[in-house]
Amino acid sequence: MTTSMAVSIRKQIGWTFSDTMVITHRNLLRYVRLPQLVAFFTIQPIMFVLLFYYVFGGAIDVGNVKYIDYLLPGVFIQTALFGSTQTGVGLADDLSKGMIDRFRSLPMARSAVLGGRILADSVRTAFVVLLMIGVGTLVGFRFHDGPLNAVAVIGLAVLCGSVFSWVSAFVGVSVREPETAQVAGFLWVFPVVFISSVFVPVEGMPGWLQVYAEISPVTVTVDTLRALALGGEVTPSLWQSLAWMAGIVAVFAPLAIYRYRRIS
């Protein structure tokens, strides 16, 4: 490789990074400036923590841990996944408003539109998880296995959200209408989140449902988060969770990129 090629590749990477940052910043501004989104991403998670805690807390037997300690890792994942539906809504919104046309006519890195969207959504998920930890702490939630594990919990929740953002991105660039993307998002996110150990132990579900619930990506991820937060055996659920995530990205990232490239 000649020096000038190396320089030009380095330059290219630099621009890709810079473009992605510009788009990420722009997407984050949308979250801050639209009142309905601010509510969706702040009030709703707080509401979920408090509702599930006070309404279900007395009724659900989760063994010998406090329900808030059991609940919160589940709500992290639930919120991360619900939030990931907005990746598709945002992309469909940009498509229907002609923003993607504008971006595609600029000499920017094409990957920055998808990358900047998913990165912004990951930042938002991190913010929401921190917010819920704050609220959870007020009603008795504690990390039982040290600050390092607490960081791992946050990291894994954010990672999980960004993985499902690819599913959502695929939906968004396929349907192209923000309203449709919203509805389509709820169609996949509800079963994926609820048929799992997010709110209740899977043992209580009917046998046929348990078969899926036990191996679902949400269950293994939530189990990992619980093990990290409460103290316990992290493997093998961590490996199962990471395998699921790798698999989902391997399928949906190429699909989303393929769809995005075919926009005409």
Binding site: S18, D19, G98, M99, R102, R104, P107, M108, S264
Partner: protein
């Protein structure tokens, strides 16, 4: 009329050769040829569904042609797409501005994505906001802007990097007459600076006002090109427009006056309107009035006019360049876009 064979690609700002593009069964472009010299304003005129937007999308690298080639500023729109993007500007059919950003933030973002750098982006945004009379609204969210302001911001965004060639796809669609005229002034100024502009429109008046040369396209093909005067020459001399009071008498009236024209009259029964190409001006006007009076047809309105581009379009295509195709557009194109 420009003879494209005498203009070598590279010496013209835009060259299009035999470009075809279809979407499923819809042949959006059916062998388009086009040349725009440097520094000229070309008006691409045609009804909805004519293929105007498809051509713009191909020339701005958003879409690849099925066959044929095109060059903008000497660069192949397919092979040199990424280089080309840094020297063109596009203002599309939608005012593609981010409603959640302020006017200034919108322009700075576009500057950053043109890789102008933070400082230069800020400087350029300020310049353009000033130029497009948006300085006062610069710190307001674009969603609070009026339609005209959003269009101006969109146009400003397309100019951030001093493009050599500017593509404006129906820049005044949906604007009120006052904003439209305001935008025309802006486009005229750009042309004065020497920017090559390709402008699509369905408004005859707009092409007439802004373009040096006009290319008329219909059903994906170029059906005429020339200056506004040349195109009007297609229609012969003047046009006599008659509107009758009672629409049921339209045909009677048409029969009465048809012999006075240089060509058959065009009759729009539902509007009670007759357009008749004539030669001889005022004397014919008097004769028409006499004949219609004798036939007992009451005239609501009568006027002698220079042919408009509407007449040209009608003469060329046999159908009105009407906007009533709008519904077909949605049906024929799943993306809800003009093809």
């Amino acid at each position: 009329m420009i003879d494209r064979h005498t203009v070598k690609q590279g010496s013209a700002a835009i060259t299009v050769e035999e470009v075809r593009k279809s979407f499923g069964a819809v042949q959006a472009l059916d062998g388009v040829n086009l040349v725009v010299p440097h520094g000229r304003v070309l008006g691409l005129l045609g009804p909805n569904g004519a293929g105007k937007t498809t051509l713009v999308r191909i020339l701005t690298t958003l879409l690849s042609p099925d066959s044929g080639r095109a060059w903008v500023a000497g660069l192949d729109v397919v092979r040199d797409a990424s280089t080309l993007r840094s020297i063109i500007g596009l203002a599309g059919q939608y005012a593609a501005v981010d409603p959640n950003l302020t006017g200034r933030e919108n322009l700075e973002m576009v500057g950053r994505l043109y890789h102008l750098g933070r400082k230069e982006s800020r400087h350029r945004a300020g310049e353009l906001l000033e130029r497009f009379a948006l300085a006062e609204a610069a710190h307001r969210g674009a969603k609070t802007y009026s339609g005209g302001m959003r269009r101006r911001l969109d146009l400003a965004a397309s100019l951030v990097s001093h493009p050599q060639v500017l593509f404006l796809d129906e820049p005044t669609a949906g604007l009120d007459p006052r904003s439209r005229i305001g935008l025309w002034d802006v486009i005229r100024d750009l042309a004065k600076d020497g920017t090559t502009v390709l402008l699509t429109t369905q408004y005859m008046e707009e092409a007439d006002q802004l373009a040096d040369t006009i290319t008329v396209i219909d059903k994906g093909r170029v059906i005429a090109e020339g200056t506004s005067e040349e195109l009007k020459g297609h229609c012969g001399g003047e046009m006599l427009r008659i509107r009758v009071s009672d629409r049921t008498q339209t045909d009677t009236a048409a029969q009465e006056v048809s012999k006075l024209g240089t060509d058959a009259p065009n009759v729009a029964q539902e509007m009670g309107q007759i357009s008749l190409p004539v030669n001889g001006g005022a004397s014919i006007l008097a004769e028409v009035v006499r004949r219609l009076d004798a036939a007992g047809v009451a005239i609501k309105d009568i006027a002698l006019q220079q042919p408009t581009l509407d007449d040209v379009f009608l003469a060329l295509t046999g159908h009105m360049a009407d906007i009533s195709l709008e519904d077909d557009q949605m049906a024929s194109d799943g993306e809800g876009r003009d093809v």
